[in-house]
Assembly symmetry: C2
Homo-oligomer: 81 residues x 2
């Protein structure tokens, strides 16, 4: 897990999660709006999640993962996690 002198690099973790979601979305050639709709998440909220601006709940991560045919573990496997 990303550490900043013994502390969790929480901002870095959220940014890494957002980047992992974005790259999985782009790999499936989905627009951000299409992913938000498929996951049942508000479109502007999805944008903030991808930019690492939200401390996402685990069920929203699961909904996003399902919409991407992925899993929370895979999305959280990014190096910062």
């Amino acid at each position: 897990m990303a550490r900043v002198s013994g502390q969790l690099d929480e901002l870095g973790m959220l940014t890494a999660l957002g980047a992992a979601i974005r790259s999985a979305r782009q790999a499936k050639e989905l627009s951000q709006e299409a992913l938000a709709d498929a996951a049942g998440i508000d479109r502007s909220h999805m944008g903030k999640i991808e930019r690492g601006e939200r401390n996402v709940t685990i069920l929203n991560i699961a909904r996003i993962a399902k919409a991407l045919s992925s899993s929370p573990s895979t999305l959280l496997a990014a190096p910062n996690w």
Copy 2:
């Protein structure tokens, strides 16, 4: 991921996450209070998380994972996820 006729079994997922946290805590012979303190989480909130009664944020999962010398991916590797 746990599915209930195509839908995510969200209650089952939270229960599985709580159980994974509990078994990792017990394996380290930590009390629930000690884990809550180490993760910087309110003790009663920790109890609700372990019982699957809370849609936990990813940073709280990361804090709990760190306190357990584990990772969010490991805690989310339970079969229901």
